[in-house]
Amino acid sequence: MIAYTIYLPQIKGLLKKWALELNIYVPTMVEKGFFEFRPWNDQVEIAWDYDLCYTTLKKFILPPRENIIFFDMKKYSASPVTEAPKQLLFGVHPYDIKAINQLDQLMEMDSPDVNYQARRDNTIIFGLEPVHVAETAFWSSMNASKVDLGYDLYWTRISPGAFFVQVGSARGEEMLKVEGPVEKSNFTQKEAARRAHLKILAEAEKQTLKFDWSRTPELVNKFFNNRTFWREKAKTCLSCGSCNLVCPTCYCFDIQEEADDLLQKGRRYRQWDGCMLRGFAEIAGGHNFRDNAWERYRHRYMRKGKYIFDKLGELGCIGCGRCVKACTAGIANPRKVYNEIWEAIKNEI
């Protein structure tokens, strides 16, 4: 493991250098208690101790709306569009990195998503060890408190003025040395980083699943036909899709087209969609595969708890707790629902 120690006063200089080539986004407090990734400039105060950024980071790689084709209705021609600005996400927590790793795999499966991949290739990710845990988070029990890949650099604050920076890629290491040589970390600094990790882990483990995450697929599958449970849970579901849209591992989108005002040219674009929305599973002729809110509600837990597992071998939930916050009805908490299922049938399996 290659690691360097970077001191707080060095960071501004580095950011200025990097900003010449990239758009930099950093966590910052937008309102009391709410954090977001915002474009960096030297006036922006970086919230090193943020607990959770309010909206998901997938928006940088899979934007809410994105053009994919421009077409010409007079010439009957079409050309693909790929936009991929060079960007740096500085300060991404491990669970969010895990989510991006998952998207990377899913977007490459079957037919690779070229728009996604182009953006992803131009996105540099600097991880950051969390120092606070959001009160809705439960990532430690989702196997997401540590990632081995998916970052170019991984920053751990080991003292008020110093960061232990682990190298994840050659690109990351080069960027670190852009202003000249930097100090190699010694054993003590490495140890300090390890302790920082253990400290936050202890904090995160106050709120967990009551069982090992790997049993989730089996559990939800057993509960699939328990209609009473799902109906009861989904009673106050607004079908607003908030849980999907804030989820860092949800990637569904809808495709639409719009002509220009002269009706000669047009564009095809995609925009975020979600399985909790009524129109999601509606097909030509008006049939809907999941017409009732409770079916959609169940589908989400199946998706996170089983279907993604069947594809990748890990859960589709990384435990960030964004959906828990976003759901005004307060019914979108995967930890709670999976725990309830566990409580109900733990003696049967």
Binding site: Y54, T236, L238, C240, L245, A259, D261
Partner: protein
């Protein structure tokens, strides 16, 4: 539909703000009218003709004598489009439906209330068949342009059927409920890009209820967030008045 369909604009009880939004398309309007002929639109031209293919109708029906007029427009037009909240959902006019007739007549006309006829306000669809709806108070002109283009391409524009929450999430807004504010976005039809919330306000519900809005849940959620039934009702009645549940 003929090569260059003839288009007419009409209005009932309303502020004509939706037609103003259309006029506000300005140079874009010139591109759009290259595919159609406007035969009646009092905000932009004086000529009035009565043969038209598409009728855009703004405003709600608030008097018995409005009925024959809207029925006549319906029979003349191949496609009737309801324009704006008053026409699509009854909108603000329906506020009067919750007040005694003598009271609102006296408020508006003073001693001359008896000169005017009136009845409960209602959307166009309560009287005639509506082929397409463009929601909003006022309408979003980009959505209007899009709906017109889709008509010209032989389609009926269907507005989003999900709540405003979707667009708030896309815009990255912090949920108003997290800020302790009462917001109707959870039950209101999207399509406005959550403009009011994005600009710092809350959703007022001008686009009407989303087709699948879970009103029971909404009531419970407002209650759980500490809003009294009266507060919620006031907020809901502003636009959702034409609704048997309020």
């Amino acid at each position: 539909m003929p090569n260059k369909p003839k288009v007419a604009f009409f209005d009932f009880a309303g502020c004509e703000g939706d037609q103003l939004q259309v006029a506000n398309l300005e140079e874009r309007l010139l591109d759009l009218v290259s595919h159609l002929e406007i035969v009646r639109f009092r905000e932009i031209k004086t000529i009035k003709q009565d043969n038209y293919d598409i009728a855009f109708v703004e405003g709600s029906i608030t008097r018995p004598e409005d009925e024959p007029r809207i029925k006549e427009i319906r029979s003349n037009a191949k496609i009737l489009v309801a324009l704006g909240a008053c026409a699509t959902i009854g909108g603000i006019n329906c506020l009067k439906n919750f007040i005694k007739e003598s009271e609102y007549k006296a408020t508006v006309y003073g001693n001359f209330g008896r000169w005017y006829s009136t009845y409960a306000a209602r959307p166009l669809s309560a009287i005639v068949k509506v082929d397409m709806e463009i929601h909003g108070c006022p309408i979003d002109r980009n959505e209007f342009a899009r709906a017109v283009k889709e008509l010209l391409l032989g389609k009926i524009y269907s507005p989003p059927d999900y709540p405003v929450c979707v667009e708030c999430k896309m815009a990255g807004n912090i949920c108003r409920y997290e800020q302790g504010k009462l917001c109707l976005g959870i039950v209101t039809r999207a399509g406005c890009n959550a403009c009011c919330v994005t600009e710092g306000s809350v959703c007022w519900g001008c686009r009407g209820l989303a087709p699948d809005a879970n009103m029971d849940a909404a009531g419970q959620i407002m209650d759980e967030h500490g809003f009294s039934w009266l507060e919620a009702q006031d907020h809901l009645r502003l636009y959702f008045g034409y609704n048997s549940r309020l």
